[in-house]
């Protein structure tokens, strides 16, 4: 929502603006606050090595979350991302290693991305053509794809990937450049292109959008393709980072992805969301996770604290919305 205050409403608009800004950067502010608060007690939190390390963990998470954000803006959800990560990982690895005839890394990566997009397209097609609820469709494909990945490898991990490929995951600058490019591109696509506006419209009111000539199905479809593509890209990084084609890659991070997106402020009901918010959400969770690890707390304290902090952030958000913006 671009802001061009109308003079005779100056006061009202500006307060709105302020509250908006507040909500825009609240999560970021919290992150910084948390960082500052913990830094003294947390040995090594601020060190460059640790930040780089956290960054390496953050990048793939953010990439997947970007795709998730696009899907959520259309009012959908994609539970299959983690399975797509796993499947693309093993397929790509199979290709690039000996038993795949050692395909060159570039081809391998391209195949992985194509596969990811293809699987996303499959989700999108089913959801738009057959008009099935995204939740259940992607839930089914999640189960199927992960099962398929494990079956494909008969539970064996695949290793011995070409160094040129590993570089993608391990040379932080490359990974960073890729991610940053993707993030900014997605952001600009959403805010500055017709497609972006269409995505929001689809999420806000599909019927109205359809009547207004918005290609609703195409946009929804595209969102899932994008999500699949992002998952594949993340898979390239994770696979490179762990030097392994693993059929269970990323199995544990689904809730982190959705959680980060939602904590960022993107609505599960569609029509609302920003890449920026998602970025803040991911940053928030990563820093939290990293700090808790550095404190070398026991696993249960980590889990509890994580839950508590997420809740705290959400509560803050809710309370602020009520008092600053007011219900209208």
């Amino acid at each position: 929502m671009a802001a061009t205050p109308v003079t005779n409403l100056e006061s009202r608009t500006t307060t709105r603006l302020r509250s908006l800004c507040l909500s825009e950067y609240l999560v970021l502010a919290l992150t910084v606050l948390m960082f500052a608060a913990l830094a003294p007690f947390t040995p090594g939190l601020g060190t460059s090595a640790n930040l780089l390390n956290a960054l390496g963990y953050l990048l793939p998470l953010f990439i997947v979350a970007v795709g998730m954000t696009l899907v959520m803006i259309t009012g959908g959800i994609d539970l299959s991302v983690t399975s797509i990560i796993a499947l693309t990982s093993v397929v790509g690895a199979k290709l690039m290693t000996s038993d795949g005839g050692g395909t060159p890394a570039i081809i391998g990566v391209l195949v992985m991305l194509a596969l990811g997009a293809g699987l996303g397209a499959l989700n999108g097609a089913v959801i738009t053509m057959l008009r099935l609820p995204a939740f259940i469709v992607t839930l089914a494909s999640m189960m199927f794809l992960s099962g398929f990945a494990v079956w494909l490898t008969q539970s064996k991990n695949i290793y011995g990937l070409p160094g040129s490929f590993l570089a993608l995951g391990q040379r932080l600058p490359i990974a960073f450049a890729l991610t940053a490019a993707l993030g900014v591109a997605a952001h600009l696509m959403l805010r500055r292109t017709v497609f972006g506006r269409w995505l929001y419209a689809v999420g806000q009111n599909a019927t109205a959008a359809h009547i207004s000539g918005v290609p609703v199905r195409a946009m929804t479809f595209a969102a899932y393709v994008a999500s699949g593509l992002c998952a594949a890209l993340a898979s390239v990084m994770l696979t490179g980072r762990l030097e392994t084609g693993s059929p269970v890659l990323g199995r544990e991070i689904l809730l982190d992805i959705i959680g980060a997106t939602v904590v960022g402020g993107t609505s599960l009901f569609g029509g609302m969301g920003k890449i920026a918010w998602t970025f803040f959400g991911v940053l928030f969770l990563t820093v939290l996770d990293n700090a808790l690890n550095l404190l070398s707390l026991s696993q249960f304290s980590i889990t509890i604290t994580k839950g508590a902090v997420i809740l705290f952030a959400a509560v803050l958000d809710a309370v602020r919305n009520r008092f600053v913006v007011g219900r209208s």
Binding site: T193, A201, N205, T207, I211, M272
Partner: protein
């Protein structure tokens, strides 16, 4: 009796408001409103959208609390904190957007908050519930089994259910907020008959409507609201339409409809822009054929369910058609779909503003821009040219005369009905249509806004746009159109040029019998 309080004895007074004030974001929407409703009386509350009517209703209903002023009901102070309070005191509401749950049965909707229990058990006494429901339905003249799901009822039937609900709480005062907006002629007459019956049983009512004729016909007293103030009140007979309208809009309006430039009448000479040949869809439309000419305002009349809106939806490619041909400026359109038609200069304003016309939570600007976005996208990336977009938005705002108080970033949800409709109209006008299909363009909109929209329509026609107007208000069509088509159960049954306009004849055609016609 008049609502002037000096001359009334307190006991005859059922509801009274004294100096009610309310503000949102520091903006006063009610500035000391005072009037009262006598027991068994019927007060018409009129005013433009944004005059404060709905705020007033919300205060009476306990959804909002006034900042100043006092309410008295049935001789006792009345300060509802929530809808339950209102119900407990016997005040019922018939809202414009009906408050029924389609996924529940009629009976359940009626007793939603006060289910009859089976003795002391926590269970609903279904027998009793349906018995009492049937009883109530009979009272409102609705002969439908009370276990039917509401989603299977027509708009008119739902309205009657709402009233049955009101009766079920032994309401002493019923507040109608635009009750007829979604009703057909027949359903409306049925509703009025019911209202008469209820009044005979001593119920008091507040009747809010933009259809002044109804207000004159039904109410004893009229209260006129403008910008949150009572600008006029008194017995109905002391008002004339002109006086009422000028009070509402704050200036004298000598007519409800703008002058149509003479030569446009029955403008067969304008070349046909939209030609429809034998369009059929079983159960909806049968062999519909007509043509719409450049610069013509063509009305489409008929009862609810006659297939008017359905036809429009087919023409715009929203619903399928089995047979038939549609030509646009001579060219046959094989594939009907919104993008396709929009590109060729067809625009369609649906009857459901909120559910199909707008993205309620999106900003005004975004809604205005939605249809024409592609024009502002620079290929290949469809990069938005935001300046040209902004320019277009600003321009169209002034064309449709959108309330200057509304900002571009404001969510449409917060706008009044009239302004919302202007936004919808605006987004279509931006696409510079050659053919404009308007389904109920003035539904739930105040006189002032109506007049502006009529003028817009005529202006477009003068520029050679062909306009097809669907409306349930016959007066509207007769005042607005050059020609009127009448539909009955999926067929075109009549076609009258302006010179032959005749209410009786049109109704007769619509009803299919010369007898049923009522004035």
């Amino acid at each position: 009796m008049t609502t002037n309080k000096e001359q009334r004895t307190a006991n005859s007074e059922l509801l009274s408001l004294r100096g009610i004030e309310k503000a949102f974001f520091g903006i006063k929407v009610l500035k000391g409103v005072s009037f009262s409703v006598p027991a068994g009386g019927m007060v018409g509350l009129v005013g433009e959208n944004g005059a404060g009517k709905s705020t007033l209703v919300n205060i009476l209903g306990g959804n909002l609390q006034p900042e100043a002023g006092t309410l008295r009901f049935a001789g006792a102070d009345y300060a509802p904190q929530n809808p339950q309070d209102a119900a407990r005191r016997g005040i019922a509401f018939i809202h414009q957007e009906l408050n029924l749950f389609p996924n529940l049965s009629i009976a359940e909707n009626i007793f939603l908050t006060r289910f009859p229990r089976a003795g002391t058990t926590p269970f609903i006494h279904r027998g009793e519930m349906h018995e009492r429901a049937a009883e109530l339905l009979r009272k409102v003249g609705l002969e439908i089994p009370s276990h039917r799901l509401v989603k299977t009822l027509s708009a008119g039937e739902r309205q009657l259910v709402e009233i049955a609900k009101a009766l079920s709480i032994e309401a002493r005062l019923i507040i109608f907020d635009e009750p007829t907006t979604s009703l057909s002629e027949r359903e409306t007459t049925r509703l009025f008959a019911l209202i008469a019956r209820l009044r005979a049983r001593g119920l008091a009512m507040i009747y809010i409507s933009h259809t002044l004729a109804d207000v004159f016909r039904l109410c004893d007293d009229i209260v006129v609201l403008r910008d949150g103030e009572v600008v006029g009140s008194g017995a109905t007979k002391t008002f004339t339409t002109e006086k009422l309208v000028s009070l509402m809009v704050g200036r004298t309006m000598n007519q409800l409809f703008p002058e149509r430039r003479a030569e446009a009448f029955g403008s067969e000479e304008g070349a046909p822009i939209l030609e429809v040949r034998d369009v059929s869809q079983s159960g909806v439309a049968e062999n519909i054929s007509f043509s719409l000419h450049r610069g013509e305002v063509l009305g489409l009349s008929g009862l609810m369910g006659a297939g008017r809106s359905e036809l429009a939806r087919i023409l715009f490619g929203l619903d399928p058609r089995e047979r038939g041909e549609v030509r646009l400026a001579g060219e046959v359109l094989h594939h009907l779909s919104p993008p396709n038609l929009i590109e060729r200069g067809v625009a369609f304003l649906t009857e459901n503003r909120r559910s199909e016309g707008l993205c309620l939570d999106a900003a005004v600007a975004d809604n205005l821009a939605l249809v024409t976005l592609p024009q502002h996208g620079r290929t290949p990336l469809r990069w938005l040219l935001r300046d040209s977009l902004q320019a277009a938005v600003t321009r169209i705002r002034s064309v449709v005369q959108l309330d200057s108080k509304t900002s571009d970033t404001q969510p449409v949800r917060t706008l009044s009905g009239g302004n919302q409709q202007k936004v919808v109209l605006g987004k279509w006008l931006l696409s510079k249509p050659k053919v404009l299909i308007l389904d109920e363009p003035t539904r739930g909109i105040d006189v002032g806004a109506k007049f502006e929209i009529y003028r817009l329509i005529h202006g477009l026609a003068d520029q050679g746009v062909g306009v097809l107007v669907i409306s349930s208000e016959l007066e509207e069509l007769m005042g607005l159109c050059d020609r009127i088509l009448v539909m009955r159960s999926g067929c075109l049954v009549d076609d009258l040029p302006r010179v032959q306009f005749d209410r009786e004849r049109i109704l007769a055609a619509a009803l299919g019998t010369a007898k049923e016609v009522k004035s």
